[in-house]
Symmetry: C2
Subunit: 501 residues, 2 copies
């Protein structure tokens, strides 16, 4: 092994111990920690983030990275090692321009911002969160400006953190195509919505029974309970300490059959990605999914392409009916499939159906872009939010809690993250198109054999962790870079058929 690379490893290992501890603190806060703990936790997160920062952002690492970027040394590195160096250089570049004191203050702010946000959401008072959000926007802009070169668009720099190579230009084009295809399709669909009955969905489904069925579903898809756990939290999420410790959460509502089931499938898609990362990469900067968009492609692939298909439910529906014999007595497989795919515009992104979902993302994207560019202020957001919901989805949220405050991401300063949700669906459609050419996906689903599907994704995507950037990986698997046409075509065909348009 290259001597400089060998010298780099102890830094990576130490840094990873902090990252794991920080991931655990965050997981614990979301799932279990007592309310009164949050103030101290924020302090710990600040301290440990700063210490982790100092491990990577130091003269020794800088010097090693410099040596490792020479052509001579690069040639002695494996593809994975090159990726680790590349990702580390990127991280170094991003962090080293931030003064440590500011980084610590920012980390502490994020840890408290979440609590402030949650209270504001509970009381549906945007003004209670606004001052914190302003600080978060300021830090985000300031940090991005530290690493910006002349003419750099700040929002492009943020996008690059979540989705390397995807700029405002590409996204503007993507969302324009989406808007053009989906808004009219949605109108046609809504007009025929009373042909689909789904009153079954809000009958009585006891939470502990749901939990059991969701646990079964995750295992059915390949979730490895030896390497992962499932807990409860306000909103479902996935986190990973390393590829042998992957955690998902869910939230069970006794008056909603779908919610937890599709969350379980979705989060399992994320978890399979993290569990599938090669052991040799785990714990390094390349030891996790390459990007938010690629991650979301895995969760959406399982949730939508697989989990909302008739073929998937063919072997499972009898078990579902047996789990809730009374509530589902009058529901046929055909009813159920129509129900879980029914499209209805609503105010809440996480409850949106597959068709209207990307419009929610588009709205957040447009607002974020303007906010970071300084074309609007934090205080403008609620009004702009409501206007866009009226324009694109035809609805008005009844308060800030189901409007601009609905999602937690901004409280963690995750600006530039949202577009990846829509990219994920589009990437999933592109992957699905090519996967179906190579393996008989629908046959496997009907047989209840999920193994070849998971193995295909593991061998083509998961095991590489963050070694290949999204477009490079897509080209390896599908022969072309990101192409939103598959997604537009998939949605159009699916909903045309489903609604007999």
């Amino acid at each position: 092994m290259n001597q400089y690379y060998t010298q780099l490893l102890p830094y990576l290992e130490r840094n990873h111990a902090y990252e794991a501890a920080l991931a655990l603190l965050s997981w614990d806060t979301e799932t279990l920690a007592p309310p009164a703990a949050s103030e101290n936790t924020a302090k710990y997160v600040g301290i440990l983030s700063e210490e982790a920062y100092h491990i990577l952002i130091c003269d020794e690492v800088e010097s090693l990275l410099k040596k490792l970027s020479s052509k001579k040394e690069q040639e002695t590195l494996s593809v994975s090692e090159q990726a680790v160096v590349r990702l580390l250089q990127k991280q170094f570049k991003k962090l080293s321009c931030i003064p440590p004191k500011e980084y610590r203050e920012f980390s502490e702010l994020c840890a408290t911002a979440q609590t402030v946000y949650c209270r504001a959401k509970q009381n549906a008072k945007f003004e209670d969160f606004a001052p914190t959000l302003e600080k978060l926007v300021d830090y985000t802009r300031r940090f991005a400006s530290y690493r910006a070169e002349k003419n750099d668009n700040l929002y492009d720099l943020l996008l690059d953190e979540y989705e390397e190579g995807f700029t405002t230009d590409i996204l503007d084009d993507f969302f324009a195509k989406l808007r053009e295809a989906i808004v009219p399709l949605m109108k046609q669909v809504i007009a025929k919505n009373d042909t689909i009955k789904k009153d079954y969905n809000t009958r009585n489904y006891p939470e502990d029974i749901q939990e059991g069925f969701c646990r079964f579903l995750s295992g059915y898809l390949g979730f490895d309970y030896n390497r992962g756990v499932i807990a409860e939290s306000e909103h479902p999420f996935t986190t990973s300490l390393h590829n042998h410790d992957v955690r998902i959460t869910n939230h069970y509502y006794s008056d909603n059959l779908e919610s937890a089931m599709f969350s379980a499938i979705h989060e399992t898609g994320h978890a399979l990605y993290e569990m599938g990362v090669d052991d040799t990469l785990s714990g390094t900067p390349a030891g996790t999914g390459i990007s938010m968009g690629m991650h979301e492609s895995q969760s959406r692939f399982y949730e939508n392409m697989i989990g909302r298909s008739k073929e998937f439910w063919e072997p499972l529906f009898p078990k579902l009916k047996a789990t809730y014999p009374e509530e589902l007595a009058d529901v046929s497989l055909e009813n159920f499939i129509a129900g879980i795919n029914k499209a209805e515009p609503g105010p809440i992104r996480t409850e949106a159906d597959e068709l209207t979902y990307p419009l929610h993302i588009m709205i957040r994207y447009e607002l974020e872009k303007d906010l970071i560019a300084g074309n609007c202020t934090v205080s403008d957001l609620p009004e702009l939010w409501n206007k866009k919901y009226k324009d694109y989805l035809g609805i008005t949220p009844k308060n800030a809690s189901e409007g601009v405050l609905q999602d937690i991401h901004w409280s963690g300063a995750s600006f530039g993250y949202f577009p990846s949700y829509a990219l994920g669906s589009a990437i999933a459609a592109q992957l699905y198109h090519y996967m179906a050419q190579q393996i008989p996906v629908t046959d496997y689903l009907k047989e209840g054999n999920m193994v070849p599907i998971r193995e295909f994704l593991r061998d083509h995507i998961h095991k590489y962790g963050a070694v290949y950037p999204t477009n490079e990986l897509l080209k390896k698997v599908t022969g072309e870079e990101f192409n939103p046409d598959y997604y537009i075509r998939y949605l159009t065909e699916k909903y045309t058929k489903l609604y007999h348009l």
Copy 2:
């Protein structure tokens, strides 16, 4: 505030962030983490322990501690600040003589030792754990020898870590008194054991119902759910990140009514101690219970003096019967009180009744003392264990799992810890004696009013954290230092009355 003390605070704060993260990693391992995570967790624990070590064991802290120990500076410190300096000096002295590399190796060994121990226990194979245990004994002896002065007894140095001021001489005397009083008392009791029926205890008590009742019990005693959480683990324990984040666990067995209930009461006793520590102390070296013995005095006080008394159950027994109407239909309060106090020698310490319990501790104490002194080897332990159980309790464990492997403590190198379990019961009896002279304890219990009891303990013990050493604190509360006579008298009177001897 003293300038040197002020300079010390950032070191304490940083160190505490690590201690909290380490406590959380350990809690998580015991309650939730997936099995495959343990190898990496051990690595993280090693790394973070070493980093925490370097924060305190450095020239700056040494220099500040030296300045702060001068008479002139001491006079400017408050009692709490003096305690923090004293405790930190002790920790510094203990840690600074251990080479950092050895400390890290030792921390990693402890983290893996637990897994090795658990497997060995599962398979009842002492020989699988023996090599690890030998290493743990070696490290413990070596670390103690680093700080030993001429003529120091190594085991006394270990005892001092858990119970300052309590030496082998004091414990030898304590256990001799106990043995003399309890072994004959136990024989009288066993002879009359068929007068007490407790077959009710092993009827069917569903785990979720137990969990609910235990949750109620903890709250009844004053557990603050805003500052604490309860989870499940193989063995019940309490841990604390700080006074606003105190955590207890329990384990529910559907064929055992008592087990989880008394664990809940016991762990709540520990939790109330940690929750009661003054806010100004939390996060400092004085921000936790002073010693293992004093901690155990709080848990045992609640479990035995309070939780096994008739007065405690008078207002609660109707609720217990209503919770399990069929199983407890034929059980009267008198039956129940006799049942929960029934004394029967058995192989397992954690299942032992109040009377035989200290004999289990005595055996472990005798073995530890010999092991550390080099008077016996690890491989001698199983045979010695069985012999002592035969001699003192008249029983022979059927395998190593219910014999020498029954307790996890040695896998964490907690040698010198065990005696505190017996000291705790004795201290609890001493405290109870004096508390009853000052407040009408039994009246409060009958009224279901737990507040004055908790407040008495908080104001006299909890709030001080680790400011006063055990004997000093005992003298403040009871007017005398540790005196085992109250315990002997308490057990003799209780069992004489209970069994009509």
